[in-house]
C-alpha cells in the first residue's frame, strides 16, 4: 500500500514541488498519475523509492515509513517496489538475459533460481526469442519490455512506471499498457505516470491528476482532466 498524508516537498527555499499531497493506493490497484510537466510526478516517485525525504507529512510504502526510514532499510523497501524508468537505464554491455539476471543477482538470488525465473519473465513480456541480444539491438518497444521485465523479476508487490510509453507509437503504447494491465491482473500494484490523454481514457482506470504540487482530481471515472 502507498499512502501520502499532507506531503510537502521543497527542493530549496522557494521551489515547492509538492504542496500537501494526500492519496492512498491499495494493494493490487491500478492507477494513472497524470499532470503537466513540472507538476511533481517524478518527485512523488522519488519519495516512494526513498531517493528523497519529504519536507513534511508522511509517506508510507509497503509497511515502511519513509519520513523516518533508516538508511540500511532502504534496500529492503526498494525490493518491494519495481521501477520502470523513462530512460530505461538498461546496461548496454549485458544481453537481454543478463540484464534481467543481474538484478536478481543484486539481491542475492542463487544461480538455479535465476535460471528458472529469467526465461519465465522474458516470456511474460514477449522477449523470449531475444534473450541473447543487447539492448542496442532492440526496438524502443522491446527496450521498454526489457525494462518492465527487470522491474518485475524480483517479484515486487508494487510497480511504478514513469512515462512507459513516452517514445512509442500508438500501437506499441497500447501493447505496453496491456502488458502492464496483465501484470496488474497477476496481483501487482501498478502506478503508471503518463501524459497521454488518449491512452488513459481507453483503459478507464483510477486517475490521480496533479498540478503545481497539489492533487486536483482523483477518481475512478477514467477521465484525464486537469
Amino acid at each position: 500500500m502507498i499512502e501520502f498524508t499532507n506531503v510537502v516537498k521543497s527542493y530549496s527555499v522557494g521551489t515547492h514541488a509538492l504542496r500537501g499531497v494526500s492519496m492512498q493506493i491499495e494493494d493490487g490497484e491500478f492507477a494513472f498519475l497524470v499532470g503537466p510537466s513540472g507538476s511533481g510526478k517524478s518527485t512523488i516517485i522519488k519519495l516512494i523509492t526513498g531517493e528523497l525525504k519529504p519536507t513534511s507529512g508522511m509517506v508510507h510504502v509497503n509497511g515502511y515509513s519513509l519520513e523516518r526510514i533508516r538508511k540500511r532499510e532502504i534496500p529492503y523497501l526498494r525490493r518491494t517496489v519495481g521501477v520502470v524508468f523513462q530512460d530505461f537505464r538498461l546496461i548496454e554491455s549485458k544481453t537481454v538475459y543478463e540484464n534481467v539476471a543481474f538484478v536478481m543477482r543484486a539481491i542475492g538470488a542463487g544461480t538455479k533460481e535465476i535460471r528458472d525465473r529469467v526465461p519465465y519473465i522474458l516470456e511474460l513480456v514477449g522477449l523470449e526469442t531475444k534473450s541473447r541480444r543487447h539492448p542496442t539491438e532492440l526496438s524502443g518497444g522491446e527496450q521498454q519490455r526489457l525494462a518492465i521485465a527487470r522491474a518485475l523479476v524480483n517479484n515486487p508487490s508494487t510497480i511504478i512506471a514513469d512515462e512507459p510509453t513516452g517514445n512509442l507509437d500508438p500501437d506499441r503504447s497500447l501493447e505496453i499498457m496491456s502488458l502492464l494491465q496483465e501484470i496488474n491482473n497477476l496481483g501487482t500494484t501498478m502506478l503508471v505516470v503518463t501524459h497521454e490523454k488518449d491512452l488513459v481514457e481507453r483503459f478507464s482506470k483510477r486517475v490521480i491528476a496533479i498540478n503545481e504540487g497539489l492533487v486536483v482530481h482523483d477518481g475512478m471515472d477514467g477521465y484525464y482532466r486537469i
Binding site: 537505464r89 542475492g108 542463487g110
Partner: protein, 295 residues
C-alpha cells in the same frame, strides 16, 4: 550469505581486474616496487639491529681500580658499580688475570713476556644496558671512590646508536610514504572500475542491493591486486636479498657484516608483506568506494 553468492562476488571482483588489465597491471607493478623498497628497508633494519646488539655486547667499559687499594677493597667496588643504574653486568679481572690475557693475546710477539703483574691494575669489565646513556653512566662510575681511570669507546657506541636512530626514522618515513603511494594507486584502479560500472551500481541500488553487496566485488578486486603485488614483491625480495648478501659476503672477507639468511626471517617477512598487501588492497578499495556509495 549463500555460497554461490560468494562465488559470484569473487568472479565479479576478478572480472574487474581483467576489465582494466593495464590499470591493474600498473597497480600491481607500483605495489611490487613499493613493497620491495619497504621489504629491503625492513630487512636492513633487521640486520642492523642484530649488528648493534652484538656491538652493544662487546662494547665494554674497562674500569681501572686505584692500585693503592688492597685486593679485597678492590673487589668490593664491584657491588657499588653494580648499583649504578644502566650497568648491566660487571666482571672483576685481577691484575694477574689481565696479564695472563695479554700474554696469551700477544704470545707471538712476546711483548708481555716477563712483565710483572704489579705493573698492571685490577679492573672491572662493565657492560651497559643502554649505550645511549654511556656518558652519564661513565660519570657515575668515575665518582665511585677507588676508581682510578676509565676507558670507554663513546664515539663508536654513540655513532652506532645514532645511525640506528636515523635509519629507523628513515625507514618509518619511507615505509609510510610508499604504503600511501600503493594505497592511492590501488584506490584509483578500483575507482576507475567503479566509474566504469556506475550504471550497474545505480541499477543495483534501485532494485535494492545492499551497500555491502555492491561493495564486495570491488573489495575483492582491491584485495587480489594487493595480494598479487605482495606475493610478487616477496619472491623478488627473497631473490634479491640472497643475491645481495652472498655478493657482500664474498667481498667482505673481514666478516664485518653478517647477514642473516633470508630463510631465518621468512615468517616475519611473509607476515609483513601479507599485512601490507591486505592493508593496501582493502583500505585502498574501501576508501574509493565510500565516495561512490553515497547516492
Amino acid at each position: 550469505m549463500k555460497i554461490n553468492n560468494l562465488g559470484y562476488l569473487m568472479k565479479e571482483g576478478i572480472r574487474g581486474i581483467f576489465l582494466h588489465g593495464f590499470m591493474s597491471f600498473a597497480a600491481v607493478c607500483v605495489t611490487v616496487a613499493c613493497l620491495l623498497i619497504v621489504g629491503t628497508f625492513s630487512s636492513l633494519m633487521y640486520n642492523l639491529n642484530i649488528i648493534v646488539e652484538d656491538l652493544n655486547k662487546t662494547n665494554e667499559i674497562v674500569v681501572y681500580v686505584d692500585e693503592t687499594l688492597s685486593d679485597a677493597e678492590a673487589r668490593s667496588i664491584g657491588t657499588q658499580l653494580n648499583r649504578i643504574e644502566n650497568v648491566h653486568n660487571c666482571v672483576f679481572v685481577s691484575r694477574e688475570e689481565a696479564l695472563e690475557n695479554f700474554v696469551a693475546d700477544y704470545a707471538e710477539r712476546g711483548t708481555f713476556n716477563g712483565v710483572d703483574a704489579s705493573y698492571l691494575r685490577h679492573r672491572f669489565v662493565v657492560t651497559l644496558e643502554d649505550n645511549h646513556l654511556m656518558e652519564d653512566t661513565t660519570a657515575a662510575i668515575r665518582s665511585v671512590s677507588g676508581v682510578a681511570d676509565i676507558s670507554a669507546a663513546y664515539e663508536l657506541a654513540e655513532g652506532f646508536s645514532a645511525l640506528q636512530d636515523i635509519l629507523r626514522l628513515a625507514s618509518i618515513v619511507i615505509i609510510v610514504v610508499l604504503l600511501v603511494v600503493s594505497l592511492l594507486i590501488i584506490s584509483n584502479t578500483v575507482k576507475l572500475a567503479m566509474y566504469d560500472r556506475r550504471d550497474e551500481i545505480a541499477v543495483m541500488k534501485m532494485v535494492g542491493a545492499t551497500n555491502s553487496f555492491i561493495r564486495l566485488p570491488f573489495v575483492v578486486e582491491g584485495f587480489v591486486l594487493g595480494m598479487l603485488g605482495a606475493g610478487l614483491a616477496f619472491l623478488l625480495e627473497w631473490l634479491m636479498y640472497d643475491a645481495l648478501s652472498s655478493r657482500i659476503a664474498a667481498i667482505d672477507t673481514l666478516k664485518l657484516f653478517n647477514f642473516v639468511p633470508f630463510r631465518e626471517m621468512v615468517w616475519p617477512m611473509v607476515a609483513t608483506f601479507a599485512a601490507a598487501g591486505i592493508f593496501v588492497g582493502i583500505v585502498g578499495s574501501w576508501t574509493s568506494i565510500r565516495k561512490f556509495m553515497d547516492v
